[in-house]
């Protein structure tokens, strides 16, 4: 069954509010909900939330034999599934469009844009490599699941520590965390994903000339997500490198409406996010060090 | 390394190829569109998004839309103008029904008190139980038992000829068969052609001299069948339920069968060459085929088809 779309009064209310640059939760159009990150006791376990949207990401690693065609590279797998737990809109067993988008974009951002240095995951060429498994678990969907999942995923990768391994000849020794300090993964860069929801200004009498105005909002809430007529997903890192830009259909935009969103808005937002994540990681690390000292 | 080169086959006349260097080629998109006069509209071709005229002076019809006070085309076809109304007629599209049109359709579903009929339109047409003639006289009242026996009249897969009666609010058409000319079809075969090739004629029931009846549905479905004598067909009083809703074909002799196939093939050929179908064209084509003494199965060969079309269309001009 198709989920019932939002009622007409709700829609009208939202549209009129948006026309005056107001959003129902009081944010300004290009303002994100403040993300929150909670780290678990283990490395590589993160709970990330954007408002009421919550996602858990966890990374674990094990040693496997690499496939013969890539003997020098580690393996990364990403598991993401939207269960009916996140929202009643999702069904078991049937892959929804949202799930396809989520899986594919996560794959592009976290795997294909070379976040993790795969060659550093090689232990013994052709014999042993690390296989990292990133599991993304969506707990609640209150809009913009993708950004939240992506943030959780990248922070989990940054947070993860793998045990140190020593290779002598063909002998592989794994050192426990109590013996030697576990090592962080070597990451090339940290991309963040931003989702813009697009709303066309209703083509009334005002749009007699020039291109119709498009209202753009960042980080849509669930209602906004369901009413939007198009999305722009941008993933980039703090070094101003784009990893994914995806505007798959939806309302057509002029190039001059599109590029500023990426060039200006996304760049600043990603810097802010990057700084935020770094500071939270530092705090967490500080907390852990104290624990170690006490024990 | 092995290198492959492909030699794409020249498939037909529309095939064409070109290479361009974007920055060096100037924009020639609007080349011949600017000051075209609407009065020469007969041959004016459009593509989606083409500018037709200003919306202040004209009204937009089918196949157009208005943006920024300009009337733009939304389909590829020819511009037609009636007074202030500008429409674009798509060159190839599904059937667009109008009230009073004669259509040939196929039952796809039996629903409570209605049948769904595929009539090559954008939605299935509806044939209400109350819009068909039931056995036992034209004026007979509908009974509840009729609802239970709907499959005795028409069942899934049956072909019928009907007239467009009205439209529902969502644009689906409602059909009726309340005439002795309409009803279930048998004794023949169906040919499907683009609807634009069926012109509105005085009568869409043609009787060809070769003992073949034709029903030209405006939806592009054409029924080619054995000729039934008028005396057997008509008769207000002796409305024969058995005959009207019968699923049994009559005996058809070999000559008639060949004639039916020949006519069907001729229709397919003409449609393949995009020649509009009229009784005169069909007759000429049929005579030409007999003159040339072409076997039925040879008709569908390409060279024969080409020769036929040149012969027939040439005669026309």
């Amino acid at each position: 069954m198709r989920p019932p779309s939002p009622s007409i009064p709700e829609r009208e209310f939202l549209f009129t509010a948006l026309k005056q640059s107001l959003r129902l939760d009081g944010r300004s159009p290009l303002e994100m909900r403040t993300p929150s990150l909670i780290f678990g006791p283990e490395f590589g376990w993160v709970e990330c939330s954007l408002g009421k949207t919550r996602v858990i990401a966890s990374v674990d690693g094990k040693m496997v034999k690499p496939p013969p065609e890539r003997p020098f590279e580690g393996i990364i797998t990403i598991q993401s599934e939207i269960s009916p737990m996140a929202s009643s809109e999702y069904e078991v067993g049937r892959t929804s469009d949202e799930e396809v988008t989520l899986t594919r974009i996560l794959d592009k951002i976290l795997r294909r844009s070379d976040v993790v240095d795969k060659e550093s995951l090689c232990i013994l060429a052709g014999q042993r490599v690390w296989q990292l498994r990133l599991t993304i678990h969506c707990l609640a969907d209150a809009g913009n699941l993708l950004d939240c999942a992506c943030l959780a995923g990248i922070v989990a990768l940054k947070h993860f520590r793998r045990p140190e391994v020593e290779v002598i000849g063909d002998e592989v020794t794994v050192h426990a965390a109590t013996e030697r300090a576990p090592l962080p993964l070597s990451l090339h860069h940290t991309p963040f994903c931003l989702t813009f929801a697009l709303f066309p200004e209703s083509t009334s009498s005002t749009s007699s000339t020039s291109t119709p105005v498009i209202i753009t909002i960042l980080d849509p809430s669930l209602l906004e997500y369901r009413l939007a007529t198009g999305f722009l997903h941008v993933a980039m890192n703090a070094q101003r490198e784009l990893c994914v830009v995806q505007k798959a259909g939806g309302v057509p935009l002029a190039l001059d409406q599109l590029l500023p969103l990426i060039k200006d808005v996304a760049v600043t937002k990603v810097r802010e996010l990057d700084a935020f994540v770094e500071s939270r990681m530092k705090d967490d690390w500080e907390g852990r060090r104290k624990l170690v000292e006490v024990s | 390394m092995i290198t492959f080169t492909s030699f794409p086959a020249q498939l037909d006349d529309y095939d064409y190829g070109a290479t361009r260097h974007p920055p060096e080629v100037e924009d020639d998109i609007r080349m011949d569109m600017d000051e075209d006069d609407l009065d020469t509209a007969g041959s004016r071709l459009t593509c989606p998004g083409d500018y037709i005229t200003s919306s202040q002076a004209f009204m937009r019809g089918h196949g157009t839309y208005v943006e920024n006070e300009e009337v733009l085309a939304s389909v590829a076809g020819t511009v037609e103008r009636v007074n202030k109304l500008v429409t674009v007629r798509a060159i190839r599209t599904r059937y667009n029904p109008e009230v009073g049109d004669l259509v040939v359709g196929r039952i796809t579903e039996v629903q409570p008190r209605r049948w769904k009929v595929d009539a090559n339109s954008r939605q299935d047409a509806v044939l209400m139980l109350s819009s068909v003639n039931l056995p036992g006289g034209v004026q007979r009242r509908k009974l509840e038992s009729d609802e239970l026996h709907m499959r005795n009249f028409f069942e899934e897969g049956d072909l019928l000829v009907a007239e467009v009666q009205a439209f529902f609010s969502d644009g689906a058409m409602s059909l009726h068969t309340r005439s002795l000319k309409y009803g279930k079809l048998r004794n023949g075969q169906l040919v499907s052609i683009p609807p634009i090739l069926v012109r509105r004629l005085k009568s869409h029931f043609l009787v060809l001299p070769c003992g073949v009846d034709l029903i030209l549905g405006l939806n592009g479905y054409i029924w080619v069948s054995k000729h039934v004598k008028e005396s057997e067909q008509e008769g207000e009083e002796g409305f024969d339920a058995e005959a009207v809703y019968s699923n049994q074909n009559d005996d058809i002799d070999d000559a008639t069968r060949a004639a039916i196939s020949r006519v069907s093939n001729i229709i397919s050929i003409l449609a393949g060459h995009f020649v509009p179908l009229t009784d005169t064209v069909l007759l000429e084509a049929y005579e030409w085929v007999l003159d040339q003494d072409i076997a039925v199965k040879d008709l569908i060969q390409e060279d024969v088809g080409d020769a036929l079309v040149t012969a027939v269309v040439g005669v026309q001009e």
């Binding site: 798959a248 | 998004g49 196949g63 590829a76 599904r94 969502d170 009787v207 509009p276 009784d279």
Partner: protein, 268 residues
């Protein structure tokens, strides 16, 4: 992975001998395939895609009908022999599903779906050969197939891929180039110049991105000229075929002559 192939040599030529901004040759074939309402076979160099459009027609799945507009259904098939290494992709492959959903949402705002409530428009895409720019080929093919099926569109969508080799933008990438340089696909509506589709899947600096976007956007308009020419040729051809009989003689025959014909036939 660094490759030994020179993407752009010092003379300014690419590995297949094209210039930086040169597109591969395009062929368009709009002959109807089978019972489809409209179909298009488009090739960009060695990439070949066949698109067939059915509809608007009665929706097969009742629960998918929309009461106020037509439902657009896209299905993509990839021929196992379309790539160098023969490989079969199932229907559930996420990459293909994403492909289909991208094409669906690209065309939904451009097709005038509100004219056909409760109907369904089926778009079936078969990828026959892949040599880069597969998504653009699919989009362009779908545009043409929809036009030949007489489905009302607001405008063409012309899509082209672009890439950047160090700082030089390239257009219309082959597989070889796609593996080596970041690629961007841009789908343009040429009338308004607005962009429906932008898709980048590899790392690229923002400034480079802007540059290649603008070049691809320009190229989209050139492509429009080509596609438009093909459509006009076909429309013209069909109109001529009909005109040969109907346009010239139609008016004269519509009247009494036809009646005579009828009577004569009945006499037999």
């Amino acid at each position: 992975m660094a490759s030994r192939i020179e993407i752009l040599n010092e003379g300014g030529y690419r590995s297949d001998g094209r210039r930086q901004y040169e597109l591969r040759s395009i062929t368009i074939d709009l002959t109807p395939q089978g019972t489809a309402d409209g179909s298009a076979l488009i090739t960009h160099g060695l990439t070949q895609v066949l698109v067939s459009v059915f509809g608007p027609r009665e929706a097969k799945m009742r629960r998918e009908t929309l009461h106020d507009r037509a439902n657009v259904n896209v299905e993509v098939g990839v021929a196992p022999f379309s790539t160098g290494e023969r490989r079969r992709r199932g229907r559930g492959d996420k990459r293909i599903l994403e492909f289909a959903s991208t094409i669906k949402s690209t065309f939904e705002p451009v097709i005038q779906t509100t004219l056909y409530p409760r109907s369904q428009i089926d778009i079936y895409i078969q990828i026959l050969q892949q040599d880069g720019s597969v998504l653009p080929a699919c989009i362009n093919g779908t545009t043409l197939a929809l036009i030949t099926a007489g489905v009302p569109l607001l405008d063409f969508i012309c899509c082209i891929s672009g890439g950047v080799h160090s700082t030089h933008p390239l257009l219309d990438l082959t597989t070889l180039e796609e593996n080596d340089v970041p690629s961007v696909s841009v789908g343009v509506m040429p009338k308004t110049g607005r962009v429906v589709l932008v898709s980048l899947e590899t790392r690229l600096h923002v400034d480079r991105f802007e540059e290649v976007c603008r070049v691809a956007w320009e190229a989209g308009k050139v492509l429009h000229g080509e596609m438009r020419k093909a459509v006009r040729e076909r429309t013209g051809g069909l109109v001529d075929a009909m005109g040969g009989v109907a346009g010239a003689g139609g008016a004269g025959r519509g009247g009494p002559g036809e009646g005579d014909g009828d009577e004569r036939m009945v006499d037999y």
